[in-house]
Symmetry: C2
Subunit: 210 residues, 2 copies
DNA sequence: GGCGGCTTGCGAAAGTGTGCACAATCATAC
DNA sequence: GTATGATTGTGCACACTTTCGCAAGCCGCC
């Protein structure tokens, strides 16, 4: 991979991968950029261009082997290994995240959960994980590093938690907190906030009927 | 608003709005694009340009009145009214969404919940809403339209639900289902899938230490 | 009441990303 | 073995976004 790959391209790859695994499960053997594009609402040219950053995976006149392309994307995205995550915050939201069944099948394991609330500390979550004190987070991470931190604490505490994770050398943070986290370059952050998504849509709704 | 506003701009406005309401709560009266940019990790020029699509809200030498700018953005985004939503799917995920306390304070109300599962239909959710049969969705929406649909059903059922919502004339859909929904032009769709976010980050994690 | 320091709004430049269009290539059928 | 129809990979042009740079304007101080 000699040249720099645009971030937008990276962000599209997971959706390609997701569709491909579906196709594979349905027994589809070969797929064209045309078909992929129709299913994902993007132009075939974009799909071909995106994939061409990483290699030449297709065959003219045929399309892409679903098996082959799935494997390639899995390697590119780093999904051929399991990733260890810690969850900080076990309030309503954090508890829901901890019990979400969608992470594990995709190779993401929550290996530790933390909270500040003394009443929550020590309780069991999901029958396996014991909630630890967030004060121990730095030490725990030093002893036993993880790859990704999930932040599910109130806005006011989010930056402090992020700082601890960053200091521990974490490389990626998935934040459910409604604040923009400050992190040094080299640390990946994605934010999940359904309200922001809704607010982006209401702009258009307002203009629809007017 | 004579000219067309880029979609990327619209998608940034909610984060501006969120920060501004925080500032307002903290009693800050005036803020510069410089300060906003530092808090949000964007360039001051971008913030000024984004806002300039909608009007001239700042004062040279001073900055922006937090009050004024908050009000302007609220109007622009359509947040000066309440929005009615229906939730389809009350499994693990749907239940968590229904009990999420973050929607109501921002003007988003879940006014109906639906499921296919006969065992779920009729039960109470969150002490207020009774789960209705998804078979009644089309009729209910015809009688009493809502603005936004939240889809929290398994991948295989998502498109069918989306079709019903679209047929009922819904303008916006927030989908938690792991599939790309097919909708006609004019219907807004946003997808929330933490796994996609994680997969976008693992690409970078892989390259970090290598 | 004028001067200095800031900060906006915006035209223009620079930088990115997307889509077109077509040569190259492959599978199949006859 | 050759013709046919399909589909990839990619150079190029266009379109879109971001950033720069600066004139215009505002505030406060002396």
């Amino acid at each position: 991979m000699p040249l720099e790959i645009p971030e937008v391209v990276i962000d599209r790859l997971p959706t390609y991968y997701r569709l491909l695994t579906n196709l594979q499960a349905r027994g589809v053997a070969v797929v064209s950029s045309q078909e992929l594009g129709e299913a994902l609402n993007v132009t075939p040219a974009q799909i071909r261009k995106d994939l061409s950053y990483f290699g030449r995976f297709g065959k003219q006149g045929r399309g892409y082997s679903v098996q082959r392309l799935t494997d390639e994307l899995r390697t590119i995205l780093g999904l051929d290994q399991r990733w260890r995550m810690v969850l900080i915050g076990v309030g309503r939201l954090g508890t829901a995240i901890a019990s979400y069944r969608g992470f594990e099948p995709q190779g993401f394991d929550i290996v530790g959960v933390y909270d500040v609330n003394p009443e929550a500390v020590g309780t069991e979550l999901g029958g396996e994980l014991v909630v630890r004190n967030v004060a121990d987070l730095a030490r725990d991470l030093a002893d036993d590093p993880v790859d990704i931190g999930i932040v599910a604490v109130p806005a006011g505490e989010a930056q402090a938690v992020v700082d601890v994770l960053v200091a521990a050398g974490i490389g990626a943070i998935l934040s459910y907190a409604p604040t923009a986290a400050q992190v040094p370059a080299g640390v990946e952050v994605r934010q999940i906030d359904p309200v922001l998504s809704l607010q982006g849509m209401t702009y258009h709704l307002r203009r629809r009927d007017a």
